[in-house]
């Protein structure tokens, strides 16, 4: 097994290494904080001759994704990355990419959304595109970033899926903080992810040999068929991620549990649910409470879209309460975005349980241990029948 040599890399660099290993044919991105160092690292690789991809210094994010789409529909493999306002600036291309089933991979180095303007961490940008028809993976560590990008291409390009994939990680917390990351060898990656061949690996491709119409105009029933097939492909992607997780573990010795990662969840009295880096701290909280004899548990959502609602419902069954920690807000729901999904998934349970929304860590503020411990204890209290707020803003005076 080749699980790779360990190097000290921040999340952006880890992503850049992953991109390099995936042998893209084109990289197109537009600088935006906190994604920029990823872009710079790729150009460094290009200057060193290690990255042989075409690079396009686009004049905006919409063009970045569009150029990546262009190469992908012409049979190649392309990569792009963005954050925050860059993501919303490319929104029309974003929807076009999924609607036309273009298997492109894009990193979102997650950041708050203007206004007020800030460049700090948050998951709000991802929430702006959660209904965009993409597969969305959210990482917890720099290693997971690297691994997820490699898996993302397998997922995207699978003939059963044919959908674009976002690999998301929190700005600064992951993008700029370094960890030991194992970088696998090119041979190992080539074995896991077949390099693109000239024929586009048998995908339908815009070429004169087999002319096709891309982005056709559709009315009525056919439109519904497109949508239906898109939804089906999303569901297949959920299943595929689980099996790819196994295959990846076989090849590289690392596994993330597929669509979600339960932590001491099975026998828990209550569960905390979150996405991204907060799960690290929450694991500590769980451990602490367990030490006190409280059966706390955690579920980290890895695959935000398609949402693993059945697996999550399974894990929630028999629990007394669920606390959801969000780094985002839904204005209309006055709660966190993940909270909404968890609450909807809980509808499948036989018994109603209290579900609490904890909003915190906005604009890069720290989701400290004490804050999350408070959240966990509040959830427990609700589970034991005590009254409490449904929505709690952590650390807001």
């Amino acid at each position: 097994m080749n699980n790779g040599a360990a190097r000290l890399l921040d999340g952006n660099k880890a992503a850049a290494h992953a991109v390099l290993l995936c042998r893209p044919d084109l990289v197109a991105a537009y600088p935006i904080t906190p994604q920029t160092p990823l872009l710079e690292q790729l150009y460094k690789f290009k200057a060193e001759g290690r990255l042989v991809a075409e690079t396009v210094e686009v004049e905006g994010e919409n063009s970045a994704l569009s150029a990546a789409m262009g190469t992908t529909v012409a049979g190649g493999r392309a990569f792009t990355a963005t954050s925050s306002m860059g993501l919303t600036f490319m929104y029309d291309a974003y929807l076009f990419a999924s609607g036309t089933r273009v298997p492109v991979v894009m990193v979102i180095a997650m950041r708050e959304q203007t206004a007020p303007t800030t460049v700090s961490c948050g998951q709000q940008d991802l929430m702006m595109v959660k209904e965009g028809g993409w597969i969305q993976l959210v990482c917890e560590s720099c290693q997971e970033i690297l691994d997820s990008i490699i898996v993302a291409y397998r997922l995207a390009e699978d003939p059963q899926v044919q959908l674009p994939v976002n690999v998301c990680y929190e700005g600064y917390y992951l993008s700029h903080l370094s960890e030991a990351v194992k970088v696998p060898s090119q041979e190992a990656v080539d074995q896991f992810l077949e390099p693109v061949r000239a024929n586009g690996n048998q995908r339908p491709v815009l070429s004169t040999e087999h002319p096709m119409t891309y982005g056709t105009f559709v009315v009525g029933d056919l439109y519904a068929e497109y949508r239906y097939k898109h939804c089906q492909a999303m569901q297949r992607a959920a299943g595929l991620l689980d099996s790819l997780d196994g295959a990846f573990a076989g090849a590289f010795g690392r596994s993330y549990g597929g669509a979600l990662e339960p932590y001491r969840a099975d026998d828990a009295e209550f569960l905390m649910v979150t996405m991204g880096t907060a799960s690290g701290t929450l694991k500590g909280v769980v451990d602490q409470l367990r030490g006190e004899g409280v059966a706390a548990g955690l579920v980290r959502i890895r695959m935000f879209r398609p949402f693993p609602r059945r697996q999550l419902a399974e894990l929630m069954r028999g629990k007394r309460a669920v606390g959801v920690v969000d780094r985002s807000v839904s204005f209309g729901w006055d709660a966190g975005h993940l909270f909404i999904d968890v609450k909807a998934a809980a509808q499948d349970l036989e018994r109603r349980i209290p579900i609490v929304s904890f909003i915190g860590g906005l604009a890069g503020t720290d989701l400290r241990h004490d804050l999350l411990e408070g959240a966990a204890r509040a959830t427990l209290a609700r589970g034991r029948g005590e009254p409490g707020e449904e929505v709690v803003w952590l650390g807001l005076e």
């Binding site: 044919d25 686009v58 004049e59 029309d92 000239a198 119409t213 105009f217």
Partner: protein, 441 residues
């Protein structure tokens, strides 16, 4: 006889006006010999160094026919206006009505005579010792557009659409080794199929208003990577070109992407029901630049996108016009040759629906746009400029605006302003040609 049956493109006697060798009158002699009375004339004016031949242009609405009091002139199914000399009384009405020097009045017999092309085998052209007189068969003209039309016949835009004509002609030049790109707009009806039905045999893509050149960038780069020479060609309206989609176009030009971008400029958002765009002419009324007591149509002159492109890094920029298909063809070929950067063609494409003009008027409007200097014809090849169709004396602006309903509300002063703007536009191009002259490629 006329009336609907006359084909639009006809065989024709082409005259390179003013290119005759001094003193040569072989055509006149040949015509006299074959037809007893010459129906072609030579104008030899050594005083002004002019030597040219002139004859009937076979107008589609011949004024001579309408003025003839004996019905002696009629237009046949081939589009040729014929004179039955036996019915001519020599009243001269035809010679007064024709302002093109097309009636050869015989002052000896005092009867009119006029060219009828010798039924398609004109003696004059055979006798011409140079290339000045040529019998051009429309078939030949179309040989320039030698590839089969890649779009299905049923798929079409409004009858008489200039854009559709340009689109089909363009790909008869470009051929099959191309990927065609359109945006959401009129042209997508031709290129992008409907549902599961394709409307072209070419690979084609309908992108967004905002990303056509970028999508092309990705495709073009990939095609090159795999060693293909397939060209990526966009045929996109002015809205997606000049307004919401200008950013990616500007980016692609600056980066030197080797793509061919044709903007068919119908001066407005026509597919959404005629709203103003950045290229809508000053004063033109649209649904979002209406005319009324407080508004006079669009309040600003049009963006000069081709000029913007010429200064935005495009390797080759040209304006083209569907009324000048050979010129369009030549520019398109040049655009396809250029591989070291973006080629941008700005194709003037009046939309008679949005311009409130008759269905059959787009070619006439296109021609008048050039002749009034509203639409200068030029090219810039790697920074060298030239006017490809010089207009020494602009025709009065009314000859253009009177064909177009969306200018109808404009008064004399408004038209004067339009005319002045047109002159300024033309002179600007002239100045560029002087500053950065074209000395061949």
């Amino acid at each position: 006889m006329s009336l609907q049956t006359v084909p639009v493109v006809r065989d024709t006697l082409a005259i390179d006006f003013g290119a005759c060798p001094p003193g040569c009158s072989e055509c006149v002699k040949a015509c006299e010999q074959h037809r007893s009375v010459a129906r072609i004339a030579t104008l030899h004016l050594p005083e002004v160094s002019f030597h040219g031949a002139i004859t009937c242009l076979q107008c589609s609405e011949p004024a001579c026919r309408d003025a003839c009091p004996t019905g002696a002139i009629s237009r046949d199914d081939a589009g040729v206006a014929r004179l039955d000399r036996g019915r001519c009384v020599g009243c001269g009405a035809c010679a007064i009505a024709c302002e093109w020097g097309g009636i050869s009045f015989d002052f000896g017999t005092i009867r009119a005579a006029k060219c009828d092309t010798c039924d398609g085998d004109p003696a004059c052209a055979r006798a011409c010792p140079t290339d000045v007189l040529r019998w051009v068969e429309s078939r030949r003209l179309f040989e320039r557009f030698s590839h089969p039309d890649p779009f299905t016949k049923g798929a079409s835009l409004c009858p008489g659409c200039a854009g559709e004509l340009g689109f089909r002609l363009a790909f008869r030049v470009i051929g099959d080794d191309a990927v065609v790109f359109v945006g959401p707009g009129c042209a997508c009806a031709l290129a992008n199929g409907l549902g599961a039905e394709a409307t072209t045999r070419l690979p084609s893509a309908m992108a967004l208003m905002t990303n056509i050149p970028s999508l092309m960038t990705g495709v073009a780069r990939r095609l090159r990577q795999t060693g293909k020479r397939t060209r990526c060609v966009a045929f996109v309206g002015d809205g997606a070109t000049a307004d919401v989609g200008f950013q990616p176009l500007s980016g692609a030009a600056e980066r030197g992407e080797p793509i061919v971008y044709i903007c068919y400029d119908n001066e407005g958002y026509m597919n959404t029901g005629v709203q103003r765009s950045g290229t809508t002419s000053h004063g033109a009324r649209t649904m979002t630049s209406p005319a009324g007591p407080r508004l006079k149509g669009k309040g600003q002159p049009a963006k000069e996108v081709p000029l913007m492109m010429a200064f935005n890094g495009a390797a080759y920029v040209a304006t083209a016009n569907i009324a000048y298909p050979e010129d369009f063809e030549a520019k398109l070929r040049r655009a396809l040759d250029v591989e070291d950067g973006l080629s941008y063609l700005h194709l003037y494409s009046p939309c008679y629906v949005g311009w409130e003009s008759p269905m059959d008027s787009v070619l006439q409007i296109s021609r008048r746009a050039v002749e009034t200097r509203m639409f200068p014809m030029w090219e810039a090849d790697h920074g060298k400029f030239r006017i490809t169709h010089p207009v020494d004396q602009a025709r009065p602006i009314e000859e253009f605006t009177s064909l177009i309903g969306r200018f109808r509300h404009l008064g004399h002063d408004d038209l004067k302003m339009l005319a002045e703007e047109a002159q300024a536009r033309y002179r600007r191009i002239e100045a560029l040609c002087q500053a950065m002259p074209f000395n061949g490629r």
